[in-house]
Symmetry: C2
Subunit: 254 residues, 2 copies
């Protein structure tokens, strides 16, 4: 069995710990974090310490903490020469881990929330390593966790992260705005559910460029003007205006 | 049987014609449009004319054309006093149809594409009418087509339309950008599919505000700075920058 230590107790640590526990080829030696106790959503059978000096021996250390702290924690980490250290960040350089002999990245391309379960085997994992040997080792371990493992360099990984921000964070923010607008009119936002589902279902049949409809895609100036007038007094005027202009530009390019 | 004439041959006309054909209480008297022939995606059993003077008698005329032309077409339309005329637009005032005795709105809240089938009974229909009597008539007919019929005034309908633009058009545009960024790095955009599905699936468990994750939601300045640097030479710099700022503001308000 491959022994794994997970560093961190956030959403990524939680979902990775669940995936590791499920896998017969992997075993959690412990979780190490800043909190006094392991949060209750984690399996309470897992050994836990908030004392970094008591960290156990393992084949693989997975750092699942805020980007800003990865370097600092890595520098504090004293482990066997043969062990591998990876971080799970989309936008942190591989070489912040260069203190170690064997290091790499296991970046799971997914949005993780505490209260929402996911099927980890469907989550694409982007990998990187400091040598061919370690890359093949990380690839093997990642393939225990996911059906889709992809090797990329640090620059590509960051662009994947940026694209994920558009696909998830920014498009979710569009729904935040939509719900806020409906709320201001006392309309139940449940009414948008079929449209929300169709927005994604369409992309199984059409490219996102083909799926682009609406006043901006048609450059329907009268409707756009009317909407901007109504939005003038809200904080969403600028977003509507800017995105509409960009969609019009996109259509002109096609 | 309630006789229906559909005016227009676009995506909305196509999907409404399919829903009407399926319903036993409704019957299509004809479709009227500008094109020489009824487009081949429509059922070719439907009577068609591009001569507006030959329009048949019907109980209900459904205008499914570009917003800018609704008033013009309505003015040209000479029908029996008892007949009802409706348009299907999200952002066009009810009273553009005021030439007629009985008029209203049947606005289906969905994104319609030619090549993508949908289950019309799940599409919310927003209705409005010029009298209580006609409203109840339009409500009855709409309930033959959809399980969800909602009465709104013109102003509310436009806000629903604007919220739909955020939920569908703008969030789809986020996917256009994401795919474009991946393409620039020679990475297959299929890799985003699980994230795309999870983005929507999450909203069955969390509100969109709760589902908001990512560097902007965390105000992770180092990562944001890194992304903006990489995007500097692309046309997506401004969008990333503006939306990030708005998400930070949103989080500060909570």
């Amino acid at each position: 069995m491959i022994k794994v230590v997970i560093i961190g107790t956030g959403n990524v640590a939680y979902h990775i710990s669940k995936a590791v526990l499920k896998n017969k080829k992997l075993e959690i030696a412990m979780i190490c974090g800043r909190k006094k106790k392991l949060p209750t959503n984690f399996s309470q059978d897992i050994a836990y310490s908030n004392n970094f000096k008591k960290i156990k021996k393992a084949d693989l250390y997975i750092i699942c903490i805020n980007d800003d702290n990865i370097f600092k924690i890595s520098e504090k980490l004293n482990i066997d020469k043969e062990s591998i250290v990876v971080h799970t960040s989309g936008s942190t350089e591989l070489n912040v881990l260069s203190k170690h002999n064997n290091y790499g990245v296991i970046y799971p391309l997914q949005t993780f929330s505490k209260d929402k379960e996911i099927e980890f085997s469907n989550v694409p994992i982007i990998i990187e390593a400091n040598s061919k040997l370690i890359l093949s080792r990380i690839k093997e371990i990642s393939s225990f966790l996911s059906n889709k493992v992809l090797k990329c360099n640090s620059n590509q990984r960051t662009f994947i992260h940026i694209s994920a921000i558009f696909t998830n964070n920014f498009s979710n923010f569009m729904n935040v705005i939509a719900q806020d607008i409906l709320k201001s009119q006392d309309i139940d936002s449940e009414i948008l559910k079929p449209l929300l589902n169709e927005t994604i279902d369409k992309l199984n049949f059409l490219t996102s460029k083909e799926a682009q409809t609406g006043p901006a895609a048609r450059n329907d100036k009268i409707t756009i003007e009317k909407h901007l007038n109504l939005l003038k007094k809200t904080k969403y005027f600028e977003t509507y205006n800017a995105l509409t202009k960009e969609i019009i530009n996109l259509k002109n390019e096609l």
